[in-house]
């Protein structure tokens, strides 16, 4: 079944040729079994400090009320919703890598999907923080759920904000399930590697969460079906989530918010920023934990290509918005877009354009796609640019409303900034804990793409008759093993 990659047309090995199952188990598991390197501790303490800042900022918000933020008429939404959309967007790459690339049989995903899924979960946690605190009165958060209450009041199912709750809540739940289902076999691996009595606690904890997994083929059969169904569910889900987030804006009649391209444009932007974040994180982890054999240049190059594609899609959406703003003949619409480019927030607009549209264009060239420091810097730029995209959409549309008398300019307060920095702290704290204690690369899946995972490996070598059982339906389950990109 599987042959090596066809190198003459540019296909490459995804894992170092000759890698054994044992090597893969060892190289990934060892990270969770040995004490953390100093770099981990430095990063963790830094992240935890920022997490503390988040606690302080949010505590102060609860104590004083939402007035501690810079939001004010006419900019009633600012950093809170910007951060929310930014974080949700970052989550999307995880699902894209785990689900969409799985369905499209892009086997290169196996080295990075666990990583990206974890990132999704933590990013969505950070995102969920903001709707939770954005009114400053957290004890009313239950208003967002359809619970019977003494007010006889139900949430308004015609409100995009409620759709957000359902969309992001579902997204978080499904991502968590997806991640956990993928983890079960690997947790069993970690469980079975605990041999000495000193590892008793580890054994119990990993054993508990491994649910008694014993690699049974009768289990694998249902497991793989479940995994595929989850992937198939996550794919439309990931589209829906950022589409629903975009509805927060696009269902309104606010110039600059109400354009029909918002749903796919937001999704493209989300995937774009998500890949940038995966790239930033994985490049660091690759250096710190020496994962060069598992996360190869092929992965980096492919991710850069996806960033180029999604960045261009975002550029397409910017262009269409601008074109239609003019073409519509609607003076308000036109004003908003001219104001974005030339008005008081033009600095933000041009930051966005240069980070999101111009900078990924470097990835047309292989020299830049395969340059690690360059990729790292650019991924940071993209993250910044995508934050500014949400800022530009939200703040520049609001700061000039229909009544010129109420025009204003938004200034963030220290609490705004601390909350945002703190959410980064929350994200990285969780992420570092994940790296430390959970296999950061899907062990079982990676083994499945090695050449020797194919039961016919080294048997017939292309001589068996391919055509006789063509039309017999194959029975469920196994990924065609091929340790190469593309399928």
């Amino acid at each position: 079944m599987s042959d090596g990659p066809i190198t003459s047309i540019g296909e490459k090995h995804l894992v170092r040729p000759g890698a054994t199952f044992r090597e893969i188990t060892d190289s990934i598991s060892v990270v969770t079994e040995t004490s953390a390197p100093r770099g981990w501790w430095i990063a963790f303490l830094t992240a935890a400090t920022f997490l503390g800042i988040l606690g302080a900022a949010v505590g102060w918000l609860f104590w004083k009320g939402v007035g501690v933020w810079g939001n004010n008429s006419p900019v009633g939404w600012a950093w809170d919703i910007t951060n929310f959309v930014w974080w949700v967007g970052i989550g999307h790459a995880g699902t894209l890598i785990s689900a969409v690339l799985f369905l499209f049989r892009q086997k290169w995903r196996t080295s990075i999907n666990r990583f990206a899924e974890a990132m999704t979960i933590f990013a969505v946690i950070c995102a969920l923080l903001f709707p939770g605190i954005h009114v400053g009165r957290v004890w009313h958060a239950y208003y967002m759920f359809p619970l019977p209450n003494s007010m006889s009041l139900w949430p308004n199912f015609k409100s995009p904000l409620l759709w957000d709750i359902f969309a992001v809540g579902t997204y978080f739940t499904v991502s968590l399930l997806f991640w956990y289902v993928g983890l079960i076999p690997d947790l069993a691996t970690l469980r079975d590697r605990c041999t000495t009595a000193a590892q008793g606690v580890r054994r119990y904890v990993y054993g508990l969460f491994a649910l008694g997994w014993r690699g049974s083929n009768r289990h694998w059969s249902n497991y793989e079906r479940a995994y595929m169904i989850l992937a198939a569910l996550s794919t439309p889900l990931v589209l829906s989530v950022h589409s629903v987030v975009s509805f927060d804006f696009a269902t309104s009649v606010e110039p600059g918010w109400h354009t029909t391209i918002f749903p796919p444009y937001f999704v493209a932007g989300a995937v774009f920023s998500g890949f940038a974040m995966v790239m930033s994180l994985i490049l660091v982890a690759r250096v710190v934990y020496k994962l060069n054999d598992l996360v190869t240049m092929t992965h980096i190059e492919l991710m850069n290509k996806i960033m180029l594609a999604t960045g261009s899609l975002v550029g397409y959406a910017y262009a269409m918005e601008f074109f239609i703003a003019w073409y519509s003949g609607n003076p308000y619409e036109r004003y908003v877009f001219v104001n974005r480019a030339l008005g008081p927030y033009s600095w933000a607009y041009w930051t966005m354009i240069s980070c999101n549209v111009i900078s990924p264009q470097f990835f047309w060239f292989k020299r830049f796609r395969t340059n690690i420091p360059f990729s790292f810097v650019l991924s940071i730029f993209i993250n910044i640019g995508m934050w500014f995209e949400r800022f530009v959409i939200i703040v520049t549309s609001l700061h000039r409303d229909f009544v010129p008398a109420s025009w204003g300019y938004f200034h963030p307060t220290a609490v705004d900034i601390a909350t945002f920095m703190g959410s980064l702290g929350l994200f990285f704290t969780l992420f570092l804990l994940f790296i430390r204690w959970v296999p950061m690369i899907a062990i079982a899946e990676l083994k499945g793409v090695l050449p020797q995972a194919d039961p016919h490996h080294g048997e017939h070598h292309g001589k068996h008759d391919k055509h006789d059982k063509r039309d017999a339906p194959t029975e469920g389950g196994e990924p065609a093993p091929a340790a190469t990109e593309g399928a």
Binding site: T25, P146, S152, L153, W154, P155, N156, F157, K158, S159, P160, W163, F166, A167, G169, T170, T173, V174, Y180, V181, D192, R193, T195, L208, L211, G212, R214, G215, S216, N217, R218, W220, S221, N222, Y223, R225, A226, I229, L230, L233, P236, S240, F247, I443, A444, E445, K447, Q452, A453, D454, P455, E459, T474, E475, G476, G477, E478, P479, A480, P481
Partner: protein, 191 residues
């Protein structure tokens, strides 16, 4: 199952419950499974670090029924969402917001979609666990010390005592003939 585990219970008899054969490659375990299937065994299982392509057919298994569970849950999610929205915004508290009548079908779409997906995902995960009878933290195969490499780089076949063709010597011979590198008998208390 309900016995207390800590105190030794000498009156309980330990009997062979499993034959566990070890293999060193995906190919050999696949062929051994085919051999068992062809010999008419039913209650046996393969244990592999990753799903082995073609093993379902080699073991003569039927297709997973998970899809039906998910379909049922999807229907349940869809119905729940439609009922919830209709009840909340059309029957319990009919309400005109933003010029939209209480019964606004297009506005149903987002939440209905999300709940359908949510329920389906629950169906997929918990259905999978249910079909697999997991979590099951205690299992006879874990009595084997060699079995720990089933999640690393070794491949196992286990034949259960319940199988009508189970026979300590004949089955062992069959497994050893199918290139098993090691065969052991797992004993357990039989209630």
């Amino acid at each position: 199952m309900s016995d207390t585990h800590n105190e030794p219970q000498p009156e309980r008899e330990r009997r062979p419950v499993l034959l566990l054969a070890e293999f060193d490659s995906a190919g050999s375990v696949l062929h051994a499974a085919e051999a068992l299937r062809d010999a008419g065994y039913k209650s046996f299982d393969a244990h592999t670090p990753f799903p082995v392509h073609g093993m379902d057919r080699a073991m003569g298994m039927s297709d997973s029924r998970l899809g039906w569970i998910v379909a049922a849950m999807a229907t349940a999610g869809f119905t729940t969402a439609v009922a919830l929205i209709t009840w909340a915004n059309h029957i319990s508290y009919p309400f005109v917001v933003g010029g939209k009548p209480p019964l606004s079908i297009p506005a149903y779409a987002p939440v209905t979609f999300e709940l359908t997906v949510l329920f389906s995902a629950f169906g997929a995960v918990f259905g999978m666990l249910g079909l697999n009878k997991l979590p099951r933290h205690h299992h006879p195969v874990f009595f084997s010390d060699r079995f720990r490499s089933a999640t690393d780089d070794r491949f196992f076949l286990s034949v259960e005592r319940e199988d009508p063709k189970f026979d300590l010597t004949k089955t062992r011979e069959l497994l050893e003939g199918a290139k098993a590198t090691h065969v052991e008998v797992i004993e357990d208390e039989v209630p």
